[in-house]
């Protein structure tokens, strides 16, 4: 399953998303979701088997890009986001 999160990492939406994660799920952080890069302690980063990507454009626009890079977080382009939606039949947006 693919989860799309557009709210900050400690928002209700983020907490609810975390409660529904299965192993092998994928998360794309878009819009304010990229703020997760500022919080290495975020529970999402500790979830094993779940791949988490940040939309690079939203990280750059919010001035978070170099921080994300410094933390070694995986950044993806919108085209890669689309590829993830091709690969996952179930897609849930958390907002």
């Amino acid at each position: 399953m693919l989860h799309i999160l557009n709210k900050p990492p400690h928002s209700d939406a983020a907490v609810q998303m975390l409660s529904t994660l299965s192993g092998n799920d994928t998360i794309v952080l878009i819009e304010d979701g990229v703020q997760a890069a500022l919080h290495p302690e975020w529970q999402g980063w500790a979830t094993n088997e779940v791949s988490i990507f940040l939309l690079v454009e939203d990280a750059i626009s919010r001035g978070i890009h170099s921080i994300a890079v410094a933390h070694g977080l995986p950044l993806i382009e919108v085209d890669d986001f689309v590829v993830l939606t091709e690969q996952n039949e179930q897609i849930i947006s958390w907002y």
């Binding site: 799309i4 819009e31 085209d79 039949e89 947006s93 907002y95």
Partner: protein, 129 residues
């Protein structure tokens, strides 16, 4: 692949319309098809014909219209959500005794059943809210 989009954020209030348009462009560039965009909740404001942002800002309604013109993407607006927010077509305005209207083709007012059908007929339905 067939895509459908559900947009529930209002222009200039939410990033949802921008994110949805950006996503749509990439989907189409990859050769996929977008069957339709369904506007619900605050998303119905995307259809407002009277939207007049300053010249240095994107007119979001026009961006949707362009998507329709280029790729034939249908633009469906939930009628119940739209009417209660003052977004309506000429015929709905007449029916409800309103003098003005602000929704025109290619946007179409439709029922919620259209959203359910869109989800069932598409390979992927992506929500932007």
């Amino acid at each position: 692949m067939e895509y459908g989009l559900l947009v529930m954020g209002a222009p200039y209030r939410s990033a949802a319309p921008h994110s949805a348009l950006r996503f749509a462009q990439s989907v189409l560039n990859k050769g996929h098809h977008i069957k339709g965009v369904f506007f619900y909740q605050e998303g119905v404001h995307n259809a407002s014909q009277l939207m007049t942002p300053p010249q240095d800002e994107l007119n979001i309604r026009e961006a949707w219209v362009e998507l329709h013109r280029q790729y034939g993407v249908s633009l469906d607006v939930c009628i119940a959500a739209a009417l209660r927010r003052g977004v309506m077509s000429e015929s709905e305005a007449k029916r409800h005794g309103q003098v003005n209207f602000n929704l025109e083709s290619p946007f179409e007012l439709t029922g919620l059943g259209q959203l359910l059908e869109l989800q069932q007929r598409c390979d992927r339905l992506i929500t932007f809210a």
